[in-house]
């Protein structure tokens, strides 16, 4: 739209570069998270956790364990269960990875870069529907789970996938409702504009709409099927849930999908409620002028967002080893009977309060 050929080329190349960086980042998450998820509980339970694997004498706290695990998984035999729907069995991991990656592209990873005569935004997909794009894509995540369970021709898989998909669709409503007050407050659906509106520390979403944050946090845990809502893979009853019959690299693909969607929701929570790439009490955008280098602000902003997201990733693990698993009926009644009414009340109260202040 209104771009010259040169600008188009620059934007296109910038998109490819940004995509490569983000995709590279996302692919690093599962190995690191698998390691963190073994070391942190070990720490919490006064154990050691994996600390032996290393290259020569450098052990780096056992970080190489993940590399070893990955290599092991790739070299394992792939067992396709008898009677499986072959095409869908093989496609299901792609279905589960694709939505998570697509949402990751809509997150603003830093302030705009003004270079080469144009403005390069640090979010890769920037459409004016903002949130709705994210919800639309995240609603597709159900299919990875459903298809995996159905195509495996295994009762545990089918049960796990049904539970997981019913849970995911149930918590999508509170997730959507929790962000309506944010739209009311900041008056926009565009994530980048929401971050810019949170330039002042006390204007962060978590202070202006704490109930929204609470609802979002709970829905975020349920959407990713993580403890205490990991009913879909309750080992005691369902073996491993929808990925019971998956082995080797495809099993790894489900891990990738799960950790990437955890990371993406962490980024979204930081962006909407904790100021995204904004550093508290400090204007990041001024850094370019202060230091004289283009891109310093983007770098600092990006690191800030990553630190905030890291906190949420840590929270995921912390909660997992703190709170016991819910029962399925408790899970459904929490979502339908408590979170939806609370979400509606939250919307109404926010709207009335804002209207009373603005339109009086």
């Amino acid at each position: 739209m209104g771009l010259t050929a040169d600008e188009f080329t620059i934007q296109f190349i910038a998109t490819l570069v940004k995509f490569a960086i983000v995709a590279g980042l996302l692919l690093q998450i599962p190995p690191v998270m698998v390691w963190v998820e073994r070391r942190v509980p070990a720490m919490m339970q006064r154990r050691k956790g994996p600390n032996r694997v290393g290259i020569f004498k450098w052990r780096i706290y056992g970080l190489m364990q993940s590399l070893a695990d990955t290599i092991k998984l790739i070299f394992k035999e792939e067992v396709v269960p008898e009677g499986a729907q072959k095409a869908f069995y093989h496609l299901a991991p792609v279905f589960s990875v694709f939505p998570a990656f697509l949402i990751a592209m809509a997150i603003p990873y830093g302030p705009d870069i003004h270079a080469f005569g144009t403005t390069i935004p640090l979010s890769i997909i920037r459409v004016d529907v903002g949130f709705l794009f994210i919800f639309a894509v995240s609603s597709l995540a159900v299919y990875g789970v459903t298809i995996a369970g159905w195509a495996s021709n295994n009762k545990y898989s089918l049960l796990g996938s049904l539970r997981a998909s019913a849970q995911m669709i149930s918590y999508e409503i509170p997730l959507g409702m929790s962000l309506i007050p944010i739209v009311l407050i900041y008056g926009t659906l565009d994530l980048n504009k929401i971050v810019e509106a949170q330039s002042h520390f006390w204007k962060w979403g978590v202070f202006l709409s704490p109930v929204s944050f609470l609802l979002f946090l709970i829905a975020m845990f349920a959407e990713t099927n993580r403890a205490p809502f990991d009913l879909a893979e309750a080992e005691g009853e369902l073996v491993a849930g929808f990925h019971t019959e998956y082995t080797s690299a495809k099993f790894a693909a489900f891990f990738l999908g799960e950790y990437v969607s955890m990371f993406v929701l962490s980024c979204l929570a930081s962006t909407v409620f904790f100021g995204g790439w904004q550093v508290p009490f400090f204007s990041v955008q001024k850094l370019d002028d202060l230091t004289g280098f283009i891109g310093v602000s983007a770098l600092i902003g990006h690191v800030t967002l990553m630190l905030k997201a890291t906190f949420f990733m840590w929270l995921y693990i912390w909660v997992r080893w703190t709170i016991p698993r819910f029962r399925y009926d408790q899970l459904m009644s929490l979502g339908w009977k408590y979170m939806i009414p609370l979400g509606l009340v939250n919307v109404v109260v926010t709207a009335v309060v804002i209207a009373a202040f603005r339109f009086s």
């Binding site: 739209m1 934007q11 296109f12 995509f19 790739i74 035999e77 792939e78 067992v79 269960p81 008898e82 009677g83 093989h90 991991p93 792609v94 990875v97 694709f98 990656f101 592209m105 890769i124 997909i125 920037r126 459409v127 949130f131 709705l132 495996s152 021709n153 295994n154 009762k155 545990y156 898989s157 089918l158 049904l162 019913a166 149930s170 409503i173 959507g176 309506i180 739209v183 008056g187 926009t188 659906l189 073996v239 019959e245 690299a249 495809k250 790894a252 693909a253 399925y328 009926d329 009644s333 339908w336 009977k337 939806i340 009414p341 509606l344 919307v347 709207a351 209207a355 603005r358 339109f359």
Partner: protein, 117 residues
């Protein structure tokens, strides 16, 4: 530039990644399926029936209620976007909308359709 070009890139990337993951396992891993190995896992016991069990109608109810509340949420998003311009008029409009739906919600709760038993 059309904002959806990256969507196409992600699509291609996703399919490539899936193909690579499948390909790696197919080329690098051993392949010797035996009847015992490829039998669907049922705690080591030979399977009795196929996995096509009839499932509960509760899942159907959950899905249809989800669609309806999802649509409501979308309408609320539209209103939230136009909220500053519509003012109290918009608030009143949405209140009417919500009161009707909350009546439906109360009916669902009273009928016990949200009880998962």
């Amino acid at each position: 530039m059309n904002p959806y070009i990256p969507v196409l890139i992600v699509l291609i990337f996703g399919l490539t990644l899936g193909a690579i993951l499948s390909g790696l396992a197919a080329f690098l891993g051993p392949k010797n399926p035996r009847p015992e190995k490829i039998d669907p896992y049922e705690c080591g016991v030979p399977k009795v029936t196929g996995a096509n069990e009839k499932m509960s109608v509760k899942f159907y109810l959950t899905a249809i209620l989800f669609i309806l509340f999802d649509i409501e949420t979308i309408f609320l998003y539209l209103w939230a976007k136009a909220f500053p311009q519509l003012g109290w008029f918009g608030v009143a409009e949405v209140m009417v909308f919500m009161v009707i739906l909350v009546a439906g919600y109360i009916y669902v709760v009273k009928r016990g359709a949200l009880e998962w038993d």
